[in-house]
Structures are given as C-alpha cells and as structure tokens.
Symmetry: C2
Subunit: 328 residues, 2 copies
C-alpha cells in the first residue's frame, strides 16, 4: 500500500488478533472462573476477530490466573475464521496445548538480552535453542507456530534494540520454518517513524511470512503505530479487549493496545476488520465485573463516534428565543 492511501481504508482487510484472554488476564490478580473465560473467548470469536490467544500452557505456580489452560481450550467453541493460539514456553507446554487442540503455538523470546534474562532467566541463545525444539515438536504434530519477539522496538532497560538484531532473530526462526512472526512493542516504546521503517524492512525481506504487530498504548501511540505499520504493508495486529494488561513499569498506565479502540478507528477509516464493534464493546463492558476494576477503554467510556447524544429538552425554547431576537 502506498503511504498516501493509508488514510482511506477503501475496504482493505485488516486482521485483528485478540490477546486479552491470555496477555490481559495474566496481569490480573483475580482468577477469572473458567466458565467466564470460555464465554469471553466465545464472545470474542463470535464478534469476528481473526485469532484469539486463548491461554498459556505455563506453570500454574508461575501464572495462577491461567491455571485452567486445558479446560479453557477444550471448552471453547471453534469457529471457521478464528485461529485459536496458545502461548507455550517449552516442549511440555506445547504437548499439553496440542493435546487440548491448539490451532497454533505462540512462542516468546526477547530481542533484548537484558529483558530476556529478566523475563525468562535465559540468555537469548538458550531461549532460541529451547524454542527450536518446540518448533520441531509442533512440526511433527502439524501445528502452526508463531514466534513473538519481545522488545522489538526497544528495551526499557537497554534502550534501543538495533533493527538488525530484531530481524536477525526473525531470520533464525523463519529458517526453522515457522509460519508467523510477531514484532512486539512490549513496553510501549515504538513510535510511528520506527514502525514504518522496521515493518518496511521486514516486508521487503520476507514478503510471504505472516507478520503481526503487537503494540502497547503506554505512551498513547498505539493507533498511530498501527497506521504506520499499515502504510508499510502490515495488516495483522494484536490487541486486548478493554485494553486489559497493564504496563509493569508504569502502574496505572495503559498497556496493550485496546481492541475496540483499534476496530472503531479502522472501521471509521473504511478498513474491513471483520469485527462487530458493538459485540466487541459488549465484551469490554463486561470486564470490570470479572476483573474487579475499570478498563482504560475510550470506547467503553465515551461510546463510539456514531452514538448520538440527545439535545437538551430546552433546545426548542432556546431556538425560539434566538429566532425572536433575529426578528426584533
């Protein structure tokens, strides 16, 4: 797509991938009951998102909020057009996810050595070696693999992460035969100039690899980054319903890009997201009862642009008095 036409969507398909049930809920201190998780995933896929990150097959001690991964994945309704992906950290998690029917495995490592050490307790080379084994297991089972590269747009501790390093890690996974790569702006450091440059470089090098962009709205740049990515050829975006999932470095700040904010803006611009905004916003509006606090969703708070506000009851009187002054 040319940069000039990004402002008019003209029916272009954009794929919205919902990460709230995993990336959002894992940040919450409450355990959302399994039946509510299943209902949430079902409502999201019914609303028309292209993919749902359903859960994570990790140690229940590490992330108690997602201890019911198997029940959730087994319990959800499968719809044509919605890929059900699950985060897995290792072979054991991959095997459990595959047994429970995952359409795709999502693997995570960081493009930043410091962040990888802090988050995964491994050097990046160790992570890569372990994930390469997971890729082999997935391939034996004919299950698709996506690799999410954290800190692809910067590390809160290291600062800049060179694009060449990010693309180098992508290359190594693509060489293994993975189907998709997600460039993650894990702590909301990406800006549109950087996004346009990195997505352009990725698309030039791997036009056939499925590329997802995962933005955070920590510094209020998520939508602008999405548009910069679209201008550079990107068409798949992770987002979290209600904007669930905070930023660990900034308590109270926004975390994940908010799904209904992206869908709302992209639809107004004429893009085809395939998502029913009202159904999606209904899921967002149901979250406070589940997680015990409000979400940062601007669409839940202010309503969509299409929503009319009633004029005051006194408007006819105001108008009549104004008209009377005209005649006076």
């Amino acid at each position: 797509m040319s940069g000039a036409s990004v402002w008019q969507g003209a029916g272009q398909r954009i794929y919205i991938q919902e990460v709230g049930p995993r990336d959002g809920l894992q940040m919450e201190s409450v355990f959302v009951p399994t039946a509510d998780k299943i209902a949430m995933v079902n409502a999201l896929s019914a609303a028309g998102v292209a993919k749902v990150e359903v859960t994570a097959f990790v140690s229940p001690q590490a992330i108690p909020a997602l201890a019911d991964a198997q029940e959730v994945l087994r319990g959800i309704v499968r719809r044509p057009g919605t890929v059900m992906t699950c985060l897995v950290p290792n072979i054991k998690g991959a095997q459990r996810a595959m047994e429970a029917g995952a359409d795709e495995l999502n693997l995570v490592m960081s493009a930043s050595e410091t962040h990888n050490l802090c988050n995964l307790r491994m050097l990046r080379e160790q992570s890569f070696a372990g994930l390469a084994e997971v890729v082999a297991v997935a391939q034996q089972g004919s299950v698709a693999v996506n690799v999410s590269l954290s800190c692809s747009f910067g590390c809160p501790m290291e600062g800049d992460v060179p694009a060449a390093e990010v693309l180098g890690w992508a290359q190594r996974f693509i060489d293994l035969g993975v189907q998709g790569i997600t460039l993650c702006d894990t702590t909301g450091m990406a800006h549109p100039a950087q996004v346009h440059a990195l997505v352009s470089a990725f698309k030039a090098r791997w036009p056939q690899t499925t590329l997802t962009l995962h933005f955070h709205d920590t510094r209020a740049m998520a939508l602008a980054n999405v548009l910069a990515a679209i201008a550079a050829g990107g068409d798949r975006f992770d987002a979290s319903v209600g904007g669930m999932g905070g930023c660990p470095y900034a308590p109270g700040a926004s975390g994940n890009a908010c799904t209904e904010e992206l869908v709302h803006a992209l639809q107004l611009m004429g893009y085809d997201t395939g998502v029913d905004l009202a159904a999606l916003t209904a899921v967002a509006a149901s979250l406070p009862a589940l997680i015990g606090h409000a979400t940062p969703s601007a669409i839940v708070q202010a309503g969509p642009v299409s929503q009319r506000h009633p004029a005051p009851a006194s408007l006819p009187d105001i108008r009549a008095r104004a008209q009377a002054r005209c005649l006076a």
Copy 2:
C-alpha cells in the same frame, strides 16, 4: 508533504499551540490562583510553544475560573516566538483583551446549528453577525484574529456536519480578513480519513490562510489525527498540557489532545516542535497540585521513551546462572 513521508519528520517544523490555561482550566471546578496561572503560562512559553491561549474575556459569572483574565494577561512574560491569544465572545471582551495586550483574539462559533444554540444560545447566523463586528474592532486595533469553528468534524447531537458547511463558514470569515482558522474536533469525533480529506480540501482552497487543527483524544485518535493532518499539509495543532479539559459528554473520558503526548511522539519521529519536552512535562506534573486531581497524561504516567528503567539488582546473578547452564 507527500503522504509517504509523514512517517519520517525529517526536521519539519510543527507549531504547538497550548490551550490548557484557557480551555483546560475553564473545565475545572477550582479557581487556580492568578499567580499560579501566570507561572503556568510563563513556563509554557519558556518551554517553547508557538502560541498560548492565555485566558478568556468572558463574564466572570459564566466562567468564574477565568475571572482574573486581565491580571493574568497583564502579568505574563512576553517572549518572542510565542503568540499570546485570548478567547473573546463579543466586542466588550475584545476591547478588554486588547487593552490588556492580547496579541490575537480567538473567536468561537460552531459549525453545527444545534451545538451553537446549546453552547452560545444563538443561531449560527447571529453568531457570525456578532463576530463580524468583533473582527472589525480587532482590525481597527491592528490585532490579529483567529476563528475557531467548533464541531468541524461532527456534532454529538446532530452527527455529521458536512464538510461543505464547515468550509462555507471558514470562507465567510476569511472573506472578512481573519488571519487564521481553527477546525475544532470539539467532542473527539474526528477520524484520520476525515481529517486527511478536510485538511486537504482546506489547504487546496486557502493555501495562504493559517490553519490550526484542534483535536480531542476522547476516542484515542488524537495523535493519528495529527499525523493525518500533517500528511495533508497541516502544521499547527492545539493541545492542552496534561490533557487538561474533559469531555462534557463522557465524564472520566479524555478531552483535549495532550500537549506532551504530541510533542513526545512528534519529536521521536524527527519533527521539530521547538518545545523542550522535559520542561513541558514538568508543567504537566505540577498540575495535580493546582487542580486537585490527576491528569490523563501518558507521559507523566509512564515517562518518555528515552527514560531507562534500572535492571534488577539480581541481574548479574541471573546472568551467571544462565551462563553456567550453558557450560554444563
């Protein structure tokens, strides 16, 4: 500017116009002491903004928060490069503002008949007739005039406001000889496709008229709208420090575009805003003590992208253990 290059600022000058002291403070229930208002305006102009909307010369009964308009305007430091503008609703206000030394008068009417009636108790034709008299007074005094057209991107009660109507009101004021027009997205209804189209139409028709865009972040589209406007040739943006100024239709929702969020993003993209981000953010951080509540500023909450977070003290141990596993 071509649409393709909006993503790389390449040193292009963007003019940031601060509206917090008027548009922000008038929404607040507290009266900020005059000396604090003067200090705020001085700090904002020292930070490098191109214009400050200092106050409004309106009835103190209507807006008690700005009852000290004359003292504030007389008390501030004037700096070359910062235009001091004041909102005035009528000839009396214009005369008071001119006596107190306003560089520019900012006049307001709505492009929506319903909104104009609700907000100003006048038909649009009545507003225009009254403002035309104010323009004449300003011209006699050789003071510049800017006209802000509310609801240029939609009315919360009427819905769409046709672009032809918006441009028609602009035409009538430009015919009177005003120096500038501001297209205001009063309740955050503008989206980037619409912004790109309307700004393109304006710039094609009046390439010499100074055009300002005034966006709200009510539905999280402010920065994307700014970039759409830049792609269409816009280069002046109103914004409010700390994002001060709520949305009357959505309690708790964001209002005005936040100055430091715009400056932060535009600077990262390579634009020249002329603004010292740290100095601006310091003003934003000082607001809660003045207005009695937190602001929605993502930059105050999360810090700029350039801010490094310290790695955990245990990082050397984590690294050593990881390396030991490599050797094992």
